[in-house]
Symmetry: C2
Subunit: 112 residues, 2 copies
């Protein structure tokens, strides 16, 4: 389980990964924990949020200081291997959207 990430003030980069899982674990749980650990050790890592429902649809958002840090993470070797295995085995479908967060608000600040 993850919760709401504690992040600095915007701007920063969000990588929104939406995916539909295939059936069965097939090593997915171990890989997920390892990738979360590896991401944390990367330069420019800010935080991570993830939720998956009972139907296998999930959204994971990783947050980075800037777009260069997000691109560098995509290219880390062990992560590249996991992406390839994700395509082949773990995900029936997925989409990645890379975005610049402009503003953020929570219960204490109503935003506009």
């Amino acid at each position: 389980m993850t919760g709401i990430a504690e992040l600095p003030e915007p701007p920063y980069t969000a990588v929104i990964f939406s995916s539909l899982r295939t059936e069965g674990d097939q090593g997915y749980g171990v890989m997920g924990a390892r990738m979360q650990e590896l991401a944390k050790s990367q330069p420019g890592y800010l935080g991570y949020e993830s939720a998956r429902d009972a139907n296998g649809f999930g959204i994971t958002v990783s947050y980075w200081v800037d777009d260069d840090a997000a691109r560098a993470w995509k290219k880390v070797h062990e992560h590249s291997v996991a992406q390839q295995r994700g395509k082949e085995v773990w995900y029936a479908d997925y989409q990645v959207r890379v975005a610049t967060v402009q503003r953020s608000y929570g219960p204490g600040s109503s935003g506009s």
Copy 2:
């Protein structure tokens, strides 16, 4: 259940809503369905993705043609009422992040 949203080419705006639910439904299910329906009828609406895990942590991303459309949706009266009730009853915690999507890729396009 939602799936992966079919969206046009970037840029567009993503509103990332991360939240932790309180216990029990308390009208949440009915409101959620109504808000999804209402959002679809707003100008500039592009799509919607949502996942919530068994621990009550969820991520919903709504997509809009631009930031103005996202701001306008926030201010729609019935949605404002739902936001207020969300603060008071449905969410133990939440955070909203408004972002400009710069690029997107899926299984058919590896991105960079």
